[in-house]
């Protein structure tokens, strides 16, 4: 389903623009890698762009976001700062974290990502505990993949969140695979079943239209703010490799995955071109910058 032009055309345009920005940003990264202009590693969120675009629309400035290794979309949906993010990934001047953290370790007020799976859930619970006291009505939103449900820390945190009525929104990006392992080989039962075990609210989302997703989620998120944690499980495809060049799925299987992009690009060709060009400019600009400096050790 596409972001539809209903009664809020500006919002729809903004949603579409954000999804396209993330798509072109991620594609540009893979391209830079292929040309040998990036080192290290990166995890693109191709196919999952609508998740942070939908979720960010429900978040306020006091809310806190915890992101993971596949976090470029989370960041761009929250800050619309492709320059700072690309500079971070390329280690150039203007990098959000001076080139120290790189792709998976980003921090800005109200936002933090880390590359150790499962680590962020207890931290999010701690932030939620703080927010409940000092910013009543604010929440901590933590993004987590299906594979990271293998980590014990996740369950310790969920237990606390339920017991302590923490304003914690857990956004699960269930893309059916973790690195090379299909979810079926790593998860007994379901996310919904695990939520039920802790008596936590759970909802399952399959669409790709941010406005529709928000409409469904809004009342549940309002309850999170009042201390009723929620596990929002998005079913999404992972269209790209885990990082780069390491996809072991058969090409036909990947090609058969649903992708929102072709329909949106056809419906909004100018916006698509504008975002593609914007990313190209960002790449040109950041590539020409001097190396990032790290002074505050």
């Amino acid at each position: 389903m596409l972001p539809a032009l209903v009664d809020a055309p500006d919002q729809v345009r903004a949603d579409r623009a954000a999804m396209l920005l993330i798509r072109h940003f991620e594609t540009a990264l893979l391209d830079l890698f292929a040309r040998g202009e990036l080192s290290g590693t990166t995890h693109t969120c191709l196919g999952q762009e609508h998740v942070p675009v939908a979720v960010s629309g429900l978040l306020g400035p006091d809310d806190h976001v915890l992101s993971n290794h596949r976090g470029h979309g989370h960041y761009l949906a929250r800050f619309d700062d492709p320059e700072g993010l690309l500079a971070e990934i390329m280690g150039r001047a203007g990098a959000v974290c001076h080139g120290v953290g790189g792709s998976q370790h980003i921090h800005r007020p109200g936002y933090l990502s880390t590359g150790v799976q499962g680590e962020s859930l207890p931290v999010a619970a701690g932030l939620a505990l703080h927010l409940r006291r000092h910013r009543p009505g604010a929440l901590a939103c933590v993004y987590i993949g299906d594979g990271s449900w293998g980590e014990g820390a996740v369950y310790e945190a969920l237990n606390l969140a339920a017991l302590w009525h923490l304003p914690l929104l857990v956004v699960v990006e269930h893309n059916g695979i973790a690195q090379s392992t299909p979810t079926g080989q790593a998860m007994a039962g379901t996310v919904a079943g695990r939520a039920a075990a802790f008596g936590l609210a759970h909802t399952r989302i399959t669409g790709t239209d941010p406005a529709a997703i928000r409409a469904g989620l809004a009342p549940l998120v309002a309850r999170v703010r009042a201390g009723e944690p929620l596990i929002a499980e998005f079913h999404v495809p992972r269209l790209g490799p885990h990082s780069k060049g390491d996809d072991t799925r058969p090409a036909e299987q990947v090609a058969a995955l649903p992708d929102w992009y072709p329909a949106l690009a056809a419906a909004a060709p100018e916006l698509d071109r504008a975002q593609r060009d914007r990313v190209a400019r960002v790449v040109a600009d950041v590539s020409a910058r001097p190396p990032a400096e790290w002074t505050d050790r």
């Binding site: 280690g91 990098a95 080139g99 590359g115 150790v116 293998g150 014990g152 392992t181 190396p291």
Partner: protein, 321 residues
């Protein structure tokens, strides 16, 4: 043969030669074969004994300890050494202690393999070398892969100890060739320790674990070419407990990838001071990464990590006083 292939071959021979042997870790199944491809071919050949786990470092280490306790041979592959912290309890508090804490020695054939080290731009949580956190743990030995010793031999040594062993594998080393040393250096092995030198009596000994060997040899080569100083590289496979028998030399330098503070090198230095004090003209020099997180950007990473240049400079300073 590249180092990764050598470890892969060693794993093949352990699993082929020992019906009780398991390999446990994340994303091990073919065709993926582990994040660094070291497990390639194993799951196809030994489908019942190569177990790909969910992302559960604590459980996979604990499960391996259970197998070892029951008399099996368990090899665990961590995707990154950094995540050892997640398996620290089953490793340190259970597996290592169990060897002796029940009053009679319990044999535990358990090897924890961990891809370590930086230089690939993976950032602060995917680049560490955690050796320092593993030394001085009763019942736990630490070994490191080196290009100068066949991994199969080292695995045999670890398993013969019948106690939990951590096997450090440098990620950059994976793509290097086994046994490669530049002319006029040659490598030889005695009692589990590799020696790389020119055959002349050395002016200096450089002690370094296998992961730093490439940089160490490059530094020694430069020391010979530019400064006409003959150095001997000593690469022990077993890093802890430390036991080294060095030729009489006035200068000893220890290089490693750990960060500053509480280093493995300090442990080596204390050992060398105690055993070789009379020969030394100066205290042992320690070379290690800066006391900082390991940045993602390559140029910043280079500032923090030990390079061939850092080792060379330290050796020149040590000899020149």
């Amino acid at each position: 043969m590249r180092v990764a292939d050598n470890i892969n071959a060693a794993l093949h021979s352990v699993l082929a030669g020992d019906e009780r042997a398991y390999l446990i870790g994340e994303d091990l199944l073919d065709p993926y074969g582990g994040a660094f491809k070291v497990a390639r071919g194993l799951s196809t050949r030994f489908p019942d004994r190569v177990l790909s786990t969910p992302i559960s470092e604590s459980a996979m280490t604990g499960v391996a300890a259970g197998l070892a306790l029951a008399g099996d041979t368990a090899i665990v592959e961590y995707m990154f050494a950094d995540f050892l912290t997640l398996g620290f309890d089953p490793l340190v508090n259970f597996a290592a202690k169990s060897v002796t804490m029940y009053g009679t020695r319990l044999p535990m054939r358990l090897i924890v393999r961990c891809p370590s080290g930086g230089g690939r731009g993976y950032g602060p949580t995917h680049s560490q070398t955690l050796t320092k956190h593993l030394i001085g743990v009763p019942g736990l030995a630490v070994f490191e892969m080196s290009p100068f010793r066949d991994a199969a031999e080292v695995f045999a040594e670890m398993l013969a100890l019948a106690q939990p062993c951590v096997f450090v594998e440098d990620k950059i080393l994976y793509t290097r060739r086994m046994h490669a040393v530049p002319h006029p250096f040659t490598a030889s092995v005695r009692d589990g320790v590799a020696y790389v030198g020119t055959g002349e009596p050395p002016d200096l000994v450089l002690v370094a674990p296998g992961g730093t060997a490439g940089r160490a040899v490059a530094a020694l080569h430069r020391l010979l070419i530019e400064d006409e100083i003959a150095g001997l590289l000593v690469v022990p496979s077993r890093l802890y407990p430390v036991s080294l028998d060095l030729p009489p030399v006035p200068h000893v330098v220890v290089a490693e990838d750990g960060t500053a503070g509480g280093t493995w090198g300090a442990e080596v230095a204390q050992h060398v001071h105690a055993r070789h004090f009379a020969d030394l003209a100066a205290p042992v020099t320690l070379v290690h990464a800066a006391g900082a997180v390991i940045p993602a950007a390559p140029h910043l990473e280079r500032e923090v990590l030990v390079t061939a240049g850092t080792i060379y400079d330290a050796m020149v300073r040590t000899v020149r006083g």
